[in-house]
Symmetry: C2
Subunit: 139 residues, 2 copies
DNA sequence: CACAAAAAGCAACAATGTTGCAAAATAGAT
DNA sequence: ATCTATTTTGCAACATTGTTGCTTTTTGTG
């Protein structure tokens, strides 16, 4: 785990700092996506809010994490799979929000479908967010 | 227009008030979706912020408008087509965000595709948000 | 160990969202 | 048209979330 974290940071030429390591650790040990607020809570009192904002921004720019749109004004972030690099995501999967546990998951195996837009629209990419009840909660 | 507005409110057994009429008017005269902030700006100084929040909430509950998820912490709202009623949306279309003008549009004719989820997930509904450049901006 | 560069922390602030309550507007009955 | 119960608004105070500039601390490198 510690090595994974170091690797990810090294690979993206980011210096190893306590907050980056902690935040990455949270992502690695959580299967759901995390909002800014989640991270603040889970990280305890240890980091300044500003640091968390800046770290998430850095990670997003580097392609270490990606954002997931929501309808509740609380953008979620989740780890990108391996081949994401700065500005280029090869990570077109569907996201799932559980209405019961409120968690957001990446369904890495479910690829976003092609969608035919009306004439005149130029498409750059598609986000699909499915809502329902997740595997855990259905048990 | 004025009649449309009255109709919509009556149909949903909402009393006719200045703020509701104004906000509905904004939706009717705008082809893009509106965020809370947009509405405050476009409505001028006339309404209290709280009133706008509460009106949007009421309209959403009644199914007059629906929310559109975003990755920028600024949920957009757009008018529902006719057959939406309290809690039941028959309005499964794709949304489009223009990266240039930043506007969000409902593509009423593009229906959300079916998506096959992994075993164990119960699906309740799907949101599709496409990003790119809109017709106007491409000209 | 020393140094330059990068990141974190702090403070102050701006914007956004929420709640309770008093005043005003509305719908419906007389 | 006027009165009244109910709903909605506006206000004030507050909580939360996000931003910016600057100083201090930490990191990577020689």
């Amino acid at each position: 785990m510690k090595e994974d974290i170091t690797n990810i940071l090294k690979r993206n030429s980011l210096s190893l700092t306590a907050s980056r390591e902690k935040i990455l650790q949270l992502f690695l040990s959580n299967d759901g996506a995390l909002s800014h607020g989640d991270i603040e809570k889970k990280a305890g009192e240890r980091f300044d809010r500003v640091t968390v904002y800046r770290t998430l921004q850095t990670f997003t720019e580097k392609g270490i994490i990606h954002t997931i749109p929501t309808a509740d004004n609380a953008v979620r972030y989740a780890l990108c799979k391996d081949n994401c690099s700065e500005g280029h995501h090869h990570d077109h999967h569907v996201h799932f929000i559980c209405q019961q546990c409120k968690q957001t998951f990446c369904l890495d195996d479910v690829v976003t479908p092609d969608i035919k837009l009306p004439r005149g629209y130029a498409l750059s990419h598609i986000e699909v967010v499915a809502e329902g009840v997740c595997r855990q909660c259905k048990k």
